[in-house]
């Protein structure tokens, strides 16, 4: 291609990228508008930006709580899930106990079930045990929510580590735990990172379960957003736009930095490679 055509091609790609990003830009712009500017007809593309929404936002009482809930619940849940999944996937990969492939099948099925069908049994159990609006109960649910994905990813990565490493370490007098955590674990670091980042995003984005079995003390951001939008007094657009903008920032930053794990992350570890 000539230089001019290459430039044109690159310009085209950037235009496509901007088209995909424009709804997100639009909400981000809205968070710098006053209420009247958001509701203006025709829509305003150029306007004097205001930071009032953000100062108002941080002066609200509950907002900090939603963010803390979202952050802590997802991080604790994912850490538990990864530890549990690492132990299990090491076992599945190395000892291959009877029923391994059945277990992997069931774990994948859990991922394929529609959320509404998952939440009904959880709702039944949580109401009966009065576990609703309980921090540990929600964290443990999200840990289970993250386990299938983590086991699939980690088993794939551990399968890729030669058994010779295990054998050499064992012959040299290392214990199994030493083999698992000092020999195998460092070699599956990309798998651990992918599992960590993507589970974090999935839990961060999860809405239905939090909406149904959460409560006042365990409200996470999507639930807060839904309540903010479906308000009887009409949508409080300045608040919703600000909350949405801040809320979608972490996943977007994460895929900027961890782009090479995107494929593994979005296909359950069944497709490897980079884009």
């Amino acid at each position: 291609m000539t230089q001019g055509r290459t430039r044109l091609y690159h310009l085209l790609l950037w235009v496509i990228a901007l088209i995909f990003f424009s709804p997100i830009l639009w909400i981000a712009l809205a968070s710098f508008k006053t209420k009247d500017q958001i509701l203006a007809t025709p829509p305003l593309f150029v306007f004097p930006p205001t930071l009032a929404n953000y100062t108002d936002f941080f002066s609200r009482q509950n907002v900090g709580e939603y963010f803390v809930n979202s952050f802590l619940i997802s991080i604790v849940a994912v850490l538990i899930a990864i530890l549990v999944s690492f132990l299990a996937s090491y076992c599945f990969s190395r000892f291959q106990p009877r029923g391994t492939s059945f277990m992997m099948f069931i774990l994948l099925s859990i991922r394929m079930v529609p959320a509404a069908a998952t939440v009904v049994p959880i709702f039944l159990m949580y109401s009966a045990f009065s576990w609703k609006d309980s921090w540990p109960a929600l964290v443990l649910f999200y840990a289970m929510f993250s386990i299938p994905f983590s086991v699939w990813i980690l088993k794939g990565f551990i399968d890729g580590v030669s058994r010779r490493y295990d054998e050499t370490a064992l012959v040299n007098g290392g214990s199994r735990l030493h083999v698992m955590f000092k020999v195998v674990l460092p070699q599956v670091r990309p798998g651990l990172i992918a599992a960590f980042i993507f589970n974090l995003i999935f839990v961060w984005n999860e809405f239905l379960v939090n909406f149904i079995i959460g409560g006042k003390t365990t409200t996470m951001i999507p639930t807060a957003l839904m309540i903010g939008v479906a308000n009887n007094l009409g949508t409080d657009w300045t608040f919703v736009a600000t909350l949405t903008t801040l809320y979608i920032l972490p996943p977007i930053i994460a895929i900027f930095f961890f782009q090479k794990y995107l494929l593994v992350g979005m296909t359950f570890g069944t497709v490897r490679g980079e884009v």
Binding site: T6, Y9, L13, W14, I16, F20, F21, P23, I24, W26, I27, A30, I38, L39, A40, T41, V84, L87, A88, Y90, C91, F95, P97, F105, M112, V113, P114, A115, A116, A117, V119, V120, P121, I122, L124, M144, I147, V151, N172, G173, W204, N205, E206, F207, L208, L225, V229, T235, Y247, I248, P251, I252, I255, F256, Q259, L262, M266, V271, E274, V275
Partner: protein, 321 residues
């Protein structure tokens, strides 16, 4: 090796055999219990958060149980399932779900293939990482947030999309989500916006799996684009494409959060996909027996989908081995 050797040397030669035996026994003992020990945590999670609730739900699907009536659950056998099978509204939303799945997957696959091919040569694009982040962003944010963007843009009084449409048609701004005629399409467009990036990602992965040598050969033979796609790209990339399309089909079948926060199934029942029916029965009507029965049916559907997915995955792995 050093310390094992020295330890065995310290023991007398007559004890050497028993030392080996001891080591073997110790390993045997560990090897037998360790695997089960490693599985204990995952099984605990699995039993408490999956087996028990699922059995509970399967049990309840044979009962007439409503949370608001306050009456105790009454065993009614398979009546709930029979009710679902003859319920016209269930079949209606099932067919809507099928139309939804088919159209979203078809449009997203076509667009994804097209844009994926376009982005194939983007290795030297300035700021490529940022551009790709912008393209993949829609699928990484929660559908609840996505629905908020579009509620803002579709709004009949101040929405930018409605405004553009009214400029183009010269008529009053349409209420895209509130109108029975347009609500389904408007929701579909949001899904296409969210998930086309996934098919772009899959296409790029499929293209990446095509061996360089075959591409160079095609270059030398001066194959046309269509032939190149048909004879070089498709045979190599079809497995990844198939997995991607299947995953997308399953996820499209699961669609719930998006519709729930965009339209709640409305106006009327125009966007009422099967997951929304389940949600409404369970958490708005609190008819949990009936809802459990429908959830059991969806669960079985998901297991069927999973089997197909694994069948394809395993066949490919068997081919490679």
């Amino acid at each position: 090796m050093q310390h094992i050797g020295s330890r065995s040397q310290r023991k007398s030669v007559t004890q050497k055999l028993s030392w080996w035996a001891q080591l073997g026994h110790a390993l045997d003992r560990r090897e037998r219990t360790l695997p089960s020990l490693l599985l204990v945590p995952v099984l605990l999670f699995f039993i408490i958060w999956n087996i028990i609730p699922t059995l509970w739900m399967v049990g309840l699907s044979f009962y007439n149980y409503s949370m608001i009536s306050g009456r105790p659950a009454r065993f009614i056998g398979i009546t709930n399932f029979a009710d679902i099978l003859v319920d016209n509204s269930v079949w209606l939303s099932f067919s809507k779900t099928l139309i939804w799945v088919f159209s979203t997957v078809a449009i997203e696959t076509a667009l994804g293939l097209l844009l994926g091919l376009l982005f194939w040569g983007s290795a030297k694009l300035p700021g490529r990482r940022l551009a790709l982040t912008m393209i993949f962003a829609p699928m990484m944010i929660t559908p609840v947030a996505a629905s908020i963007f579009f509620r803002l843009m579709y709004d009949p009084t101040f929405g930018v999309i409605s405004w553009v449409i009214s400029l183009l048609t010269g008529q009053a701004a349409p209420n895209l989500l509130g109108d029975r005629l347009t609500a389904f399409g408007a929701a579909l467009a949001v899904d296409v916006w969210i998930w086309t990036p996934f098919m772009i990602l899959i296409t790029l992965a499929a293209l990446g799996s095509v061996p360089r040598a075959e591409l160079e050969a095609a270059q030398i033979d001066k194959l046309s684009w269509i032939k190149k796609f048909r004879y070089v790209i498709l045979p190599n990339g079809k497995f990844i494409l198939m997995l991607g399309i299947l995953l997308r089909t399953i996820d499209s079948f699961k669609t719930m959060d998006l519709i729930f926060s965009l339209t709640r199934g409305g106006p009327g029942n125009t966007t009422e996909l099967i997951a929304i029916v389940l949600y409404r029965k369970a958490f708005e009507a609190f008819n949990l027996g009936w809802a459990s029965a429908l959830a059991v049916i969806l669960l079985l559907t998901a297991i069927a989908f999973t089997s197909i997915y694994l069948f394809i995955l395993n066949r490919k792995q068997a081919e490679e081995a």
